[in-house]
Each structure stands twice: as C-alpha cells, then as structure tokens.
Symmetry: C3
Subunit: 381 residues, 3 copies
C-alpha cells in the first residue's frame, strides 16, 4: 500500500494545448482460504482481505504552485471472494445505511450489522475526499477514516485484517454494534471535514513521518435543527502522535452523538523498532451510553528471511457484563515480491463471563474458545 501505480497521462485542454497531469489507479486483491472452529461448529470459506484490505482506488495530486496542492482520493472496498463492494452510511447512523446483513468482520461472529450484502455494488466506502494541502497541513472534505481508528490499525501487527485482527478494536465495534449505532463511525465517517498536520496523503503514513503529527475531524449527521434527534450522527475526533527514529506513539479520541447513547472511543498506541523486532502495544477505552469497555494489545513483528513474523495478544472486557475475551494470534508473511505476498495466520480466542467471541466464521459459544486459520496471498497494484 505504500507503493502506487501512476498512469502517465496527458491533460488535453480543448484540443489546443497539453499539460502533464496524473491519475493513479491502484488496488489490492487479497484472498485466503479461511477455516474457523468453535466448540459448536466449524466452517471453511474463501475470504478477501486476509492480511490487507482488498480495494480499488483512483487518486491524484495537482501542484497549484506556492507549495499548495489539490488532491482527490476515491477508494472502494472490494469483496473479491464474490465481487461485491462495501456499504456506507449517508448520515453516520444505521438509518443512513441500506439493507444490512449480519456479516462478520475479521472473523468474529459477534460483530454487529454491516451495510454489505449480495446486492451491494461498489462504493467509495473506504474514502472519498477532495483536499487542499501545503505547508500548513491539509484540509480534507468527504468520507474519511476517523482519527482514532488509525491507532487500532497502525499499532496492530495484523493491521485489523484477517483472523488475527486486534481483539480490542473488534470488540469496540461489537460494543457499539449491539445497537448498530457505531456502524458509521468506528472506522470511517461520512460528511467529514478534517485537518491534518504532518500527514502523508494516507493518514496511516503519519506513523512514518518524524516529529509531531495530528488530525482533527468533525462530521455531520445532517439533521435539521427541528429534528427530535438533531445531533444524531454528529461527531468529532482527534489523534496526536509523535515519531522519533525507532519510537512511534499516538493518542486518539473520538465521540459520535447517537440518539441511542453517545459513543466515545479513546485509545493509545506505541511501537519501538529494535531492528530485530518491532514491539507494539495499544490500549483502548470505549463507552456506548453507560456501557464501558476496555481493551489492550501487546504485539510484535520481526523480519525473518524474505518474510515477516507477526504475533499479538489482545483482550477486551465489557465493564458492564464483565464478559471478557483474550486472543493470541501468530502469522508469517512471505514476500514473493514487494507487491505480492503469501501468508498464514492462526488465532485463538478464549472467552469468560459469558463472552462468545469466535473466529473465522464459526459460531461463538459463551465461555468457550474458538480458533481461526487463514492461508492466502495478497497482491497490490
């Protein structure tokens, strides 16, 4: 994802003059045979996005002079196991989504409703923004990632993809998912205005920029002032981080106002690259209405030959029910090239106090363990 394909292009101005410009068509196609097992049952599936998110995108940058740039970014999720796309929400709440189905995310059967199903066409659900950038930073308008999401994924050895996905982040989604209300804002928000400082084009890459980086976002639920729930779907988010050589750390916070109870997500992530291994940790604290949840992750990645070993231990506890899950995940990614990788991932989750998290599409059973296994390949272009 750090590389992009730039189609050389020519701007034809009314047939009279030409100037150089560029549009980038890029994407990822990742597929895995995935096996999930629980105390109750098992299932074998072909899944997309085993270690990286399958996507197709169009983006470009125009130099406006004086250090200013105009940028656009249209990024569509692709469910390449069946060719369909991903859903979005027009107002950051479940009323703004279309037909939904209880699709699991990253292998957990307890995740809530997600706006994706068999009729779902491609949308630029992952990101659709236009922006101005320069020495001051960047102002972006459109649908974009929420700032606090980046801590969940940047400080996760498995990048919130596949059976190894960060339990802390997954359960945060589930916490909100029980009412369906965080569908829109745990990961992304529509109708957003974001200011970014010292970020790359993709907010993820802030992890690689030295010094301070920050993102501040607000988004609209777009209700009229006389609505009985005028603030439903409105929200704000912020993330501030610092990178210095091997050290990277960032704190994130986001709150979305829902008619059914506000959702607040606070997290902190850090990593330290020893060279032989990159050590990673994060903590997350969420609240939906009056229900709180706490999560954490300890993990690492380590280069090994032409590949990368990855491992994590992550937990989540619902502070109201005390339901808690602990997950161990290990994986190996073999680089066939800079753009193509083969991988295997194994994860096991244990449940207590009524929790029933499950992996790989198996059906969760309260207080019982579940395991998942992915073997696949990913190709970026």
């Amino acid at each position: 994802m750090k590389k992009s394909l730039i189609a050389l292009a020519v701007l034809a101005a009314s047939g009279t003059s030409f100037a150089q410009s560029s549009v980038t068509v890029w994407g990822v196609v990742d597929a895995a045979v995935s096996r999930g097992t629980s105390d109750l049952n098992s299932v074998t599936r072909l899944v997309g996005s085993g270690i990286s998110s399958s996507q197709l995108g169009f983006r470009g940058t125009e130099d406006l002079g004086g250090g200013m740039k105009a940028n656009f970014w249209l990024e569509a999720g692709v469910s390449n196991d069946n060719g369909t796309g991903g859903g979005s929400t027009t107002n950051n709440t479940s009323t703004g989504t279309g037909a939904t189905s209880s699709t699991s995310i990253g292998g957990t059967a307890t995740a809530g409703t997600v706006a994706t199903n068999g009729t779902q066409g491609l949308t630029f659900n992952r990101r659709s923004t236009v922006s101005l950038s320069g020495g001051f930073g960047e102002i972006r308008l459109g649908r974009d990632y929420t700032p606090q999401f980046w801590n969940w994924t940047v400080y996760d050895p498995f990048g919130t993809n596949g059976v190894g996905t960060n339990r802390a982040m997954l359960s945060s989604v589930a916490l909100g998912g029980t009412t369906g209300s965080t569908t829109g804002t745990a990961v992304r928000a529509s109708n957003s205005v974001t200011y970014l400082y010292n970020h790359g084009a993709n907010a993820t890459y802030a992890a690689g920029n030295q010094g301070l980086h920050a993102a501040v976002q607000m988004y609209y639920g777009e209700n009229v002032s006389t609505s009985t729930t005028p603030n439903d779907g409105d929200g704000t988010g912020i993330r501030v981080g610092y990178n210095a050589g091997p050290l990277s750390a960032a704190v994130g916070y986001g709150q979305t106002k829902f008619a059914t109870g506000n959702m607040t997500m606070t997290n902190f992530g850090a990593s330290y690259n020893l060279g032989v291994a990159n050590l990673i940790a994060q903590i997350t604290k969420d609240q939906l209405g009056t229900v709180k949840g706490d999560g954490m992750l300890l993990g690492m990645t380590a280069p090994m030959g032409a590949g990368l070993v990855r491992a994590s231990y992550s937990t989540y506890e619902n502070k109201a029910t005390l339901a808690d899950s602990q997950q161990v995940a290990v994986g190996y990614v073999h680089n066939l090239s800079k753009r193509t990788r083969a991988y295997v991932t194994y994860a096991n989750v244990k449940n207590g106090n009524g929790a029933n998290a499950a992996l790989g599409g198996a059906t969760g059973v309260a207080n019982k363990a579940s395991s998942g296994f992915d073997i696949g390949m990913t190709h970026s272009f």
Copy 2:
C-alpha cells in the same frame, strides 16, 4: 469538464503486435459545507457537487478511417460526501428504479424521489453510451442526457449544481416529481437512440460549436405490446441551437409517455457574451398530465481577477395551483488552477400561493422564504 485526462496506452494484440490506443479516466470531486435555513429550521451538511457534478468516468475514441470514429462513454455519479453512487432506471419510470429515498436535489426539499440511498453502489447513471461518429454527425446508443436538459444547464450560470441551481429546472423536476414519474427522463433517459449534429463528444459542448447544432432522441420504456400501459416510459426529445460568435441560442423539447399522464418539457435558452459579462436567459414550459408550469431565468457570469462572478434570478409557477417561487442566487468561483476552484454561493427563494421551495436541505414552509449557502472546492482530473 472541458479538459480530460488521457492515459497514454498501448494495445497489446495477443502478445505479438502493438498499436496505439487510448482510454481516458476522468472525474470531478466537488465538496462543500452547505448551510440551509428556512422559516422552520436550519441544517449544516457536507455535500458533493456544489458547483460541478462529482463523477468518475471512462471513455475513448477509435479512429476507424474515412472520417469515421467509434466512441464509448461510461460516466458514474459519485456522492463523495459518503462515497455512494447514483441510481438509474431500467424503463424510464419509477417502477424501473430500485429502493428510493426522498433525497433533495440541489437544495430543494420539494423534489421527488430519486433512486439513491445508502446501499446505492456506483452505476454509470450519468451516461453509458457507444456511438459512431463522422461527417454526418453521431449516432449514440445507451443511457444519455435528454436533449432538452442541456438548455436548463447550459443557460444557467450555476450549471444546475448547488444552492444556486436554476429554479425553473428544479421546479420542472418537482412538477413531475409529485408523481415520481419524471425521475427517469427530466435529465437522462435509459434505452435511448440519439442522433447528434455538430456536437462535441459531450452534448453540452455544442454551445461552443459555431453554426447550427442539433440532437434528436428517442427512448424505449420496453413494455410488451400487450401491456396495459404499452407506451409507459417511451419518449422523444429534440434540441436545435445556433452559435455565432458571442451569441448562443437553443430550443429544446421532450415528451415522455407515462401511464399516469404524459410529461412535456419545452424550453428556450440564449446567451450573449459581452466580454465583461456573459448575459444568460431561459424560459421553460412544462406539462404533466393536465398540470402546467412556467419557469424563467435571467442571469450572468462575469470574469473578475482570477475568478468568476455568477448571478441569476429564476422563477417557476405551477399554473394549476398558482404556487410560485422566485429565487436570487449569487456566487464567486476562484480559480486555483484550471482544474481546481474554490467557491461560495448564496441563494434565497421566496414562495407565494402555497409554494414551499427551500434551499440547502432546510424544510420548506408555505409562502415563506428560505436561503442556502455553499462554501467549497472542486477538483477535476
């Protein structure tokens, strides 16, 4: 939109020989923070297409020799505030559309149903055609703009986008929209065959061609002959115009047969470019069943420094109820480059005799005024 990005490309013939060809990937991403206020309420939103329609397209032309060309054009609407696409209709009536929602167009709350909602994936709803062109003109097959639509948008300083959108055109849509029946043909028609004379690839650009230009279109509702409404969704359209130096004028007519009452749209537009300002006018006369409506617009655009000032006064009256609306719109567009512009637009609409038109997403109140304000940027690639 007058510029396009041409990806240089090579045609690989079975790995043995190569010939040059071209495919153009182009688009517009336009976003604005929009504020609407009525006597009842107000709302702040992030909207797409504030002054130009957000879109992503693929097109190309092949020289067949002898002055003949083959052309294709696939153009998808993009709701970049949330990443979703736009709807279409398979039979030019509302029965051919899918799930619909009462989304407002261009700021009016009185517009009818539009096939776009949270689950709407990308479609080439704006245009999907294949054509042959040459000295004789062009024959196009597919989904395309209806001829009379071009007068509404070409002779509108605001190009039928944003809060300044031509009241005459908007209310024409609303007239039909009260039965949902013009959803498919006020702007575009599916299943169409069009003959164009002296047009550019995009019918809009006929405004720039000197001398006579014309478009004649027919489209099918595709009902079997034994249907109880065999002609439902069938229609025809024509537009004839003339450009001579600073003068541009065109007349348009379209009729769609609906089971619920035929829809007829007749309009005339003209502009005269004085250099310091381009003066613009149009009139429209519509009839849906037995209900008639009349609209008009007076407007201008004027270059100012690195930008363009735009203003219009437009009205519409339902001849049956005598409900009438009068709108004033003013705006300024600042060119950051040929491809990137920042803009502000303000509009105010007054209502009489029970009309309740509203702007910027606010809720209309009978006989009361409403105002809307957009501030945003647009980037084409």
Copy 3:
C-alpha cells in the same frame, strides 16, 4: 476481447525510486436495438451485450522471477442500456443474492431470477480473482467462471450473447432457474479455488492453446457445519480439452449441492476449422434434483469479406415434461476495425410439449414459436 489496453505506468515507491509496472483498464460497450415477437405480443428494446458482454475491468500481471507470475483480474458487468451493473451471490445460492427481478437473459422469458435491477451498482460479478501462475499452471482464488460454462460459450457461434444465444445453455439455466438455485453456479461461482493447466489469463482462450488444457475448480457455500444444509452452495467443476491445429474439443462437468436438489451439468463441445468455415457442435446433459434435460447445438462461423457469418441450430428438452425447444439463429458481424463491429442477428425458436421459450423480450406462449432480431454495434477498449 483478445486484445487489451495496457496503460503504461510507473510504480512510485515512497517518492524515492521508480519501477515499471502495469495495470490494464479494459472493457466492452455493446448495444443493440432488439425486437422480440411471439404469438402473444412484441417488444422493442435497447439492449446491451448483443454479441459480446459489456464490461469494464482492471487487471495486471507481475513477474515474480523464476517463471512465476502474480495476477489479478477484476471484471464488472455493465448494463449499458441503463448504466447499472450486475448482481452476484455471496454463497452460490439464491439466499446469497440481494433483491432480484425476473430479467430475461439473452432473450428468453423463461430464464430464472437474476440479481440485477434498477438499484444494482457495479460489482466485479463477472470475475474477481488473484492468482499465482508459472510452468505448473495457475492457482486462482475468488469469484470466477465455472469450468463447464466455457464449453457452452466457446462452442457457440454466438458466444452466449444476444438473441442467438445457445438454446442448450439457456435452457440449462432455465432448468435450474425454476427453483432459482443455479443462479450462482451455471456461469460463475463465488468463493472458488481453481487450478488451470495450459490456460491463458482468461480461461476462454484455452481454446487457442495447442495440446491439452484443463481446469479443476471447487467452491464453498460457506455454511457452518451445524447448518441444516451444511453443503448448500458447495460445488466442484472440471473441464479438459485438447486443441490440435484446426481441431478443438473439450468436455466439462460441474456439480453444485443445493438444499433443494443437486445440480449437475455435463457437456461436450468440439469445433473444426476448415478455413472457409469453422464447424461447431456441442451437447449438454443436465440434472436438477430428479429432473433431467438434454441439449445440443450444431453451428458454424464463416469469414465473408470484412465480416463473419454465424449460424446455429440448438435444442433443449426437459426429460421430465418432454417440453422441447428448437432454435435457429443466423447473424452477420461486420468488422469496422479490430475493436469495433456492427452486427445483425435473427433467431427463431419453436416449442413443443408445453415449452414456451421466447426471444427478444416477448412473452412466451406454450407450443408457439417466437422470433428475435438484434441490430447493433460493439466496441472493445
């Protein structure tokens, strides 16, 4: 389709180094005015895919060294008469599809449900795969064509498009279509793993490879083991062929397990190119639950000037009801260039023993004939 447009591209690695790569954006836009007539009624329509399937795709290949390649292929169906896309299925059964409508395929009114309607956005419903290939062959993961489908289309002078579409294949779909259960696997399957030997990137082209070629596929319905129908939507397919100079022959077999009764499709196709004409034949034997059906086709294509004459005679009989249909189709394709063709096709189908197959959108009448006529153009890029 044998030619592709390769956008020259440059891989930008974090802004520091560049390496050459490629992404191909390709497509077909095919449109025809189509007329269908039956004993009961008639209808005129604008249709897409008259002789070739309208589509838009993105694909690429990366050389991994040592004779190995990584490949991706994302191919979306386009209904260019109205701009919409095509549906898919997440689990290879009708429960995995979304809202459906009784759209006819290729002119038959008896075909079953297809997941495409007015709200259908673009999906990569035709194919979405990632693969590794080398001297050993190719391993593909994702949504792909079922092996036995290729015999239906490769050994059909009309390539299973338009009013001339192979009656044997159409009725096979209809056989399954009566329960809606083959929607997912008669042509394509989701969640598939395929091994291909001596194939081109597109499995079709195996017809052009000399010697033995083969494809073996399995696909998952993705049901948990405790499901009451744990194997619903699981399936396997195989195709083995041999090409030697003018001779081409292949046998295909596919079986999908459905809760409502397994579907088995067996077929054989062969062609012999005499130079002045290519002679084509195929037979198909299907079984859905306990109902069997038999089909056959005899056909030919012959170059004539700058064009191609095509003709076929194809039949299908439901062995349970003895309902049988016999179809004659003739057509001419005129090459305007290698990428652009104009065409006319005429077909007539006769029905017996209660069969009511119809062409071109007309309504079928038991034991009565129906005819269809397409005139259009197709352009590939």
